[in-house]
């Protein structure tokens, strides 16, 4: 394994600094004792973290986003797992078309999906409702779960099923005892990626969420539109820390590189 030459290594670490700089900035700024964002600053304080506790609307938005993400991820998983298994393990007419349809949200810009869903939900009288928002999020994260389920199922050795059948196991038992357990890591990884994508989603939610169903990213965006203040930085830092923890869990369960590598 040959090392990269030094100029390339220097480039690499510069690149790493570039990638981390904004996040580091956010974390640093959150510790300011001033009432506005200034860098550098002299006094540090936890005041902006305490301020989170005094901002019930942010806390509400946080829990709402969390619940929404969990709900959307779960619904998406319930729909994607059977579809993913069917697609990976069967040849049937229309398979390619169905796969394309199920992955289609990836092709549509979120801003376009946002206005389309706003229009649609208004037509059916569900605009501004939580379940409309949930449906929207489910649809957007479904492709992520599907991709991982298909990948996990495709790598599955069918001769295991044949062995089980030769030993007398029937369809449902084969599914429950052989197939499902072996694709569970893929399913779990898919759920987590779906969760993260739903939690972070901004653009489409701007259109579909209403004042009463505001998600955290939407709330933060609207806040920025008025003023960039350190409260956003402390909220952001909390999110960064939570994401880091989630990344560790994701890595243990499934392997971070597999999940992120499958993102393209």
């Amino acid at each position: 394994m040959n090392r990269a030459p030094t100029p390339l290594l220097i480039f690499h670490w510069a690149f790493a600094v570039f990638m981390l700089a904004p996040l580091v900035m956010v974390v640093l700024v959150s510790f300011t004792d001033k009432g506005y964002i200034a860098m550098p600053f002299d006094g540090t304080s936890w005041r902006w973290y305490r301020a989170i506790l005094d901002a019930p609307d942010f806390i509400d938005a946080f829990w709402r986003s969390l619940a929404l993400a969990a709900g959307a991820a779960t619904l998406a998983t319930l729909v994607a797992v059977p579809a993913g298994m069917a697609i990976a393990w069967n040849q049937f007419r229309g398979r390619e078309a169905m796969l394309g349809l199920l992955l289609s949200p990836l092709m549509v810009p979120h801003v376009v999906l946002g206005i389309a869903l706003l229009r649609y939900l208004t037509q059916i009288g569900a605009s501004g409702t939580l379940w409309g928002l949930t449906a929207a999020h489910t649809v957007i994260v479904l492709p992520y779960v599907l991709r991982l389920v298909v990948a996990a199922a495709t790598g599955f050795d069918r001769s295991l099923v044949q062995a089980a059948q030769s030993l007398g196991a029937t369809g449902w038992t084969v599914f429950r005892r052989i197939e499902l357990p072996l694709i569970v890591p893929g399913v779990a990884g898919g759920w987590m990626i779906a969760f993260i994508n739903s939690f972070d989603e901004l653009t489409m939610s701007l259109f579909v969420a209403s004042a009463s169903t505001q998600t955290l990213p939407v709330k933060m965006y609207n806040h920025i539109a008025n003023t960039i203040d350190p409260l956003l930085a402390s909220v952001s830092t909390v999110l960064i820390v939570l994401t880091l923890i989630l990344m560790l869990v994701l890595d243990r369960v499934y392997g971070l590189d597999r999940v992120l590598g499958g993102k393209s």
Binding site: A4, M25, I115
Partner: protein, 286 residues
């Protein structure tokens, strides 16, 4: 794979298909139809179909500028992402396993964090009172703060940060498929490292560059949060204009029209670039 006549796969995929039809296909079709209705003064939507909205967009200089700016931004972001993403993917493939794992987290981790947070960080860096300017002034490199917020350049830089991980992943996937002895063969025939990279490695990863480039381009052209926050009110791109028309002016038909035009243009450019590159480098696309 079992080729079978049974109906089970259809039952299993049915929920997904229904959900997609109901919440993606139908809404998009409705949007298309929405764009074909006029927006009447007074704020309502007319009754008869017309292509007036499209005509407006085609005629109005105001929209031309916005589209040009959007696509100019997208091309520039794509180009920069290729220029720095390809070498980065190469270095990643050459690192030892431990450093590679760390680097992957650094490069790909930001994808898991909301774009609002990342863009907030850029706002702190790029402002007149921001870190970059403080460093430049302290180092005596400039006398007055360099304006980066609310500029085209600022948006490009922030968009590159948001989108370059996609390029790195696409190129890295391509690199994984390479046979390392091929580089050794080139070396044994007298090629130094720059030549090996240029003549042997890069041509073979062109499919990855193309795939990554298309993703970055399409995401850059339809990006909302970053141009909105970093670019501000005055530096409009198509997605922020759609937002203004839809939620600001409540001119839904115009918003829908802009959305349709955006999607069509992105699709056309993507297909065109795809065909062009595949034709020019066909021996690389196995």
């Amino acid at each position: 794979m079992i080729a079978q006549r049974n109906v089970l796969p259809y039952w299993l995929t049915a929920p997904g298909v229904l959900v997609m039809l109901a919440f993606v296909v139908l809404p998009l079709v409705l949007t298309l139809s929405l764009s074909l209705y006029p927006f009447l003064p007074g704020g309502t939507i007319g009754d008869s179909m017309t292509i007036a909205n499209y005509a407006d967009v085609a005629r109005d200089e105001y929209f031309h500028v916005i589209f040009l700016r959007t696509f100019g931004m997208a091309f520039m972001v794509t180009f920069i992402c290729i220029a720095i993403g390809v070498p980065e993917a190469y270095v990643l493939s050459r690192l030892s396993a431990r450093w590679r794992a760390v680097s992957m987290v650094i490069v790909l981790g930001p994808l898991l964090i909301s774009v609002v947070v990342r863009t907030l960080g850029w706002a702190v860096l790029l402002g007149n009172e921001g870190v970059i300017n403080k460093i430049l002034m302290a180092g005596g490199l400039v006398e007055a703060p360099v304006k980066m917020m609310f500029t085209f350049t600022g948006v490009v830089v922030a968009l590159v940060h948001v989108l370059v991980p996609f390029m790195v992943v696409a190129v890295w996937t391509s690199l994984q498929k390479l046979d390392p002895t091929i580089e050794q063969a080139a070396e044994s025939l007298g090629a130094g490292l720059p030549t090996v990279l240029r003549r042997i490695v890069f041509p073979q990863v062109i499919p990855g560059v193309l795939s990554g480039g298309l993703i970055v381009f399409s995401l850059a052209a339809s990006a909302f949060a970053t141009p909105a926050i970093i670019g501000g009110r005055r530096l409009k791109v198509v997605p922020t204009t759609i937002y203004d028309e839809f939620l600001g002016n409540l001119n839904w038909p115009l918003g829908a029209t802009l959305a349709v035009v955006l999607v069509v243009l992105v699709l056309a450019i993507s297909l065109g670039a795809n065909r062009l590159i595949e034709r020019k480098f066909k021996q690389v696309f196995v």
